[in-house]
């Protein structure tokens, strides 16, 4: 049990670690799942939520969750990242739960949170308040590249209605809602485009309302989970590299005994540990610091994962870029994570605005 974790966190980690590594074969994925490129393993999700009961980790105990907050979610995302688990945990148990908790009506909470906790409901959220139009009680517009939308039972969207922002929930079979799944370079987590074509506002549920500033902060804070996934993925890349270089013999020595290999592994380790600090810091930060900390964690961890996964391929040599060896999936996931919610450059610019004011 290492700072800042409690015994509860350690137990969760223990449970998810073995499960995820076994289920997803250390990142290689169950036969066919990655090859198909759907990025979703329904049976794994059922097992994770119904057998292990992990979907409620950050949901209040009052609604059937474990109440372990950001730090609990960090633990699970690290382990899911280490096996590239194709499950919609990030979208369902991250921002969606936080939004419902932050601004949901009592009814919405009582309806949705227990269903999420029990694994009955897959949810996907995306910002819609700048993309969707509400006219004559009908909602139209589109949003691209929404994580796990193709697998979601319920789509949450932000909608600008006059001077307030509503969080609305649309079941996936709603009239006028189209969800188009993409195949992506990273086949372990697919994204989809969403189109609303004159969806009746009366067909959607209003979860609650929230200010735009609060919504933005909540969205940024949800990046902590993605950053944690990067830590888990990068750690796995380093572990694989240590194992491989410790066995591979060239010039009558294990290549792990060469300084070029050792020093690169050391750099990977430093990068991972410092990003880990950033993630744990963000997950435990006081509310006033949390948004800034989340930006730092996301920028640092996503950039680090991409670098570490690339270096891991390099240190493996030829086998590193073969399809049969799972490293390339980590590299592809890392590439996807680095841009999924905006690039690190954008994150640092946001930080810079806080430190220096606007550029112009």
């Amino acid at each position: 049990m290492a700072y800042p974790f409690s015994e509860d966190h350690d137990m969760i980690r223990e449970a998810v670690r073995g499960w995820a590594q076994d289920w997803f074969d250390g990142g290689q994925g169950p036969e066919g799942v990655h090859k198909a490129g759907t990025g979703f393993d329904a049976k794994a999700w059922e097992s994770l939520t119904k057998e292990l009961g992990m979907a409620g980790v950050a949901i209040d105990e009052a609604y059937g969750g474990a109440g372990l907050g950001d730090l609990g979610r960090v633990v699970i995302m690290e382990e899911l990242g280490a096996s590239l688990a194709s499950v919609p945990f990030l979208s369902t148990c991250g921002i969606s739960v936080d939004l419902i908790t932050a601004c949901g009506s009592d009814a919405a909470k009582a309806d949705l949170l227990p269903k999420i906790a029990s694994g009955e409901l897959i949810v996907s959220y995306c910002d819609g308040h700048n993309a969707l139009k509400l006219e004559d009680g009908k909602i139209s517009g589109g949003v691209s590249h929404v994580v796990s939308a193709a697998n979601a039972d319920l789509i949450l969207l932000s909608l600008r209605d006059a001077d307030k922002i509503e969080i609305i929930a649309i079941p996936n079979k709603t009239n006028g809602l189209q969800i188009k799944a993409h195949q992506t370079m990273d086949p372990t987590r697919a994204v989809a485009d969403i189109r609303l074509d004159a969806v009746n506002k009366s067909d959607v549920t209003i979860i609650g309302t929230i200010s735009e500033a609060d919504l933005n902060e909540l969205v940024i804070q949800s990046f902590i989970a993605l950053a944690a996934e990067c830590i888990g993925g990068a750690q796995k890349c380093l572990d694989m590299t240590l194992e491989y270089t410790g066995q591979r013999v060239q010039f009558d020595r294990t290549i792990a005994s060469f300084q070029a290999i050792k020093h690169k592994c050391a750099d990977m380790y430093v990068a991972i540990e410092e990003a880990r600090s950033a993630v744990y810091y963000a997950a435990t930060a006081e509310p006033a610091e949390k948004t800034e900390a989340a930006l730092i964690a996301k920028a640092t961890a996503t950039e680090m994962f991409f670098k570490v996964a690339g270096d891991a391929i390099q240190l493996h040599g030829g086998i590193g870029f073969t399809w049969e060896y799972p490293l390339h999936f980590f590299f592809k996931r890392a590439r996807a994570n680095r841009t999924m919610f905006g690039t690190p450059t954008r994150d640092y610019e946001r930080l810079a605005v806080g430190l220096l004011g606007d550029a112009a």
Binding site: H182, R253, A260, G310, T339
Partner: protein
């Protein structure tokens, strides 16, 4: 530029323009490394077209069917080929690696046997060097060859063999003296692939394609005479052949790179990425790198023509490989949020380039091995000790 060089440019440039058209038009910019599986049959036909008009082996001596081009002429030839988007050459290994080697080390009989097929674009070669345990440490060859009657019998395994699926022959370094170690006791054998003793297994790679293959030899046979040099000459010949790799074709490769940079610039202008000051810096640096590679190659080739391999020889692999890997990352960042999306389940050209460029810093000597070579050969620094201290 002197006249003969301009003549090459005019003549071959015109030929390319006229011939890379019609049924061959779809080959433009295709079949390069990382895209080897594009149109294999049509590319063989293209190779034969080149051959028929005398455009294969232009650097070979005239008596072996070549044009005896000088280095500046070779440069012009390669640049014109790439300028018009000439496709990856199916006959590449035969023409630029095996051909010069057989010209340098083969008997007259061997030259007569092997050069015409390469020259005509009808016989294809691949390379049997690396083994699962002899990657960076190339001298650690385990594949065995023994002479049984009139035939060599070969047993063992080779890996990272490109262009093997469509090849007719493989040249193999094998150990012919039982108990020999390192660079001693090796032979350089020429082995036909179409026989029961040879099995080819493609290796699926990061792009889903199969650039590379494994070759399994199980009592594979070849005639006694299909050896270059004698027993024990294998290492020397293999190294000489690697020397031919650093040849004029590097300028052709650079034209392909230039085309990629142009595509990226075009895209940045269209999709608005050119507004981003960070992207601008990276595009400018990529462009500067292109120019630098070109002049480095001219320095290198100019030395080579005088029989001197200057320092540029050592730096070019790690420089272009690292540059190209960075270019892949830049390409994806210029594409932006669409970079992740595959169209119709296929990787686009830039996606494929991005992914495959991860291999650039690994094959043909990893960046780590390149740095070793530079430190030891160019800078005269001490060698690493062999043998694991903790073994």
């Amino acid at each position: 530029m002197s006249d003969p060089v301009q003549k090459v440019r005019d003549e071959f440039g015109t030929w390319m323009k006229e011939n890379l058209a019609g049924e061959f038009a779809c080959l433009k910019w295709r079949g390069t490394f990382g895209d080897d599986e594009a149109y294999p049959e049509l590319r063989q036909k293209w190779e034969q077209k080149l051959g028929a008009d005398g455009w294969v082996g232009v650097g070979w001596p005239k008596k072996y069917g070549g044009r005896g081009y000088s280095l500046p002429e070779m440069v012009a030839y390669n640049e014109e080929y790439a300028r018009y988007g000439g496709p990856g050459r199916s006959g590449h290994i035969g023409e630029t690696l095996f051909g010069p080697t057989v010209i340098a080390f083969g008997t007259e009989e061997q030259k007569k046997q092997f050069l015409p097929g390469i020259r005509a674009g009808t016989e294809y070669w691949c390379q049997g060097y690396s083994e699962p345990n002899a990657g960076s440490d190339l001298s650690n060859i385990k594949t065995k060859a023994r002479l049984v009657g009139d035939e060599w019998v070969v047993d063992g395994q080779k890996i990272w063999t490109s262009l093997a699926v469509d090849a007719d022959w493989v040249f193999v370094i094998a150990r012919a003296e039982e108990g020999s170690k390192g660079r001693n006791g090796l032979v350089f054998l020429l082995v036909p692939l179409d026989q029961p003793g040879v099995e080819i297994r493609p290796i699926t790679q990061i792009t889903g394609g199969s650039e590379f293959n494994e070759l399994f030899f199980t009592e594979a046979k070849t005639a006694k005479g299909n050896i270059l040099g004698g027993v024990g000459d294998g290492w020397k010949i293999a190294m000489a052949l690697l020397g031919f790799e650093r040849g004029a074709s590097t300028l052709g490769q650079q034209m392909i790179f230039a085309n990629e940079v142009n595509e990226i610039i075009k895209l940045a202008k269209i999709n608005g990425a050119y507004h981003d000051p960070h992207i601008r810096q990276r595009i400018a640096k990529a462009y500067a790198g292109l120019k630098i590679m070109r002049f480095s190659a001219l320095r290198m080739l100019s030395g080579a023509e005088k029989g001197e391999w200057g320092p540029e020889t050592y730096t070019s692999k790690i420089y272009w490989a690292t540059w190209h890997r960075d270019l892949g990352e830049l390409a994806m960042d210029v594409v932006g949020s669409e970079a992740e999306i595959m169209k119709d389940g296929e990787f686009g050209a830039l996606q494929k380039m991005f992914l495959f460029s991860r291999a650039d810093t690994i094959y043909a000597g990893t960046n780590q091995i390149q740095r070793n070579m530079i430190a030891e050969r160019a800078l005269g620094m001490p060698k690493e000790p062999r043998g694991d201290p903790n073994a």
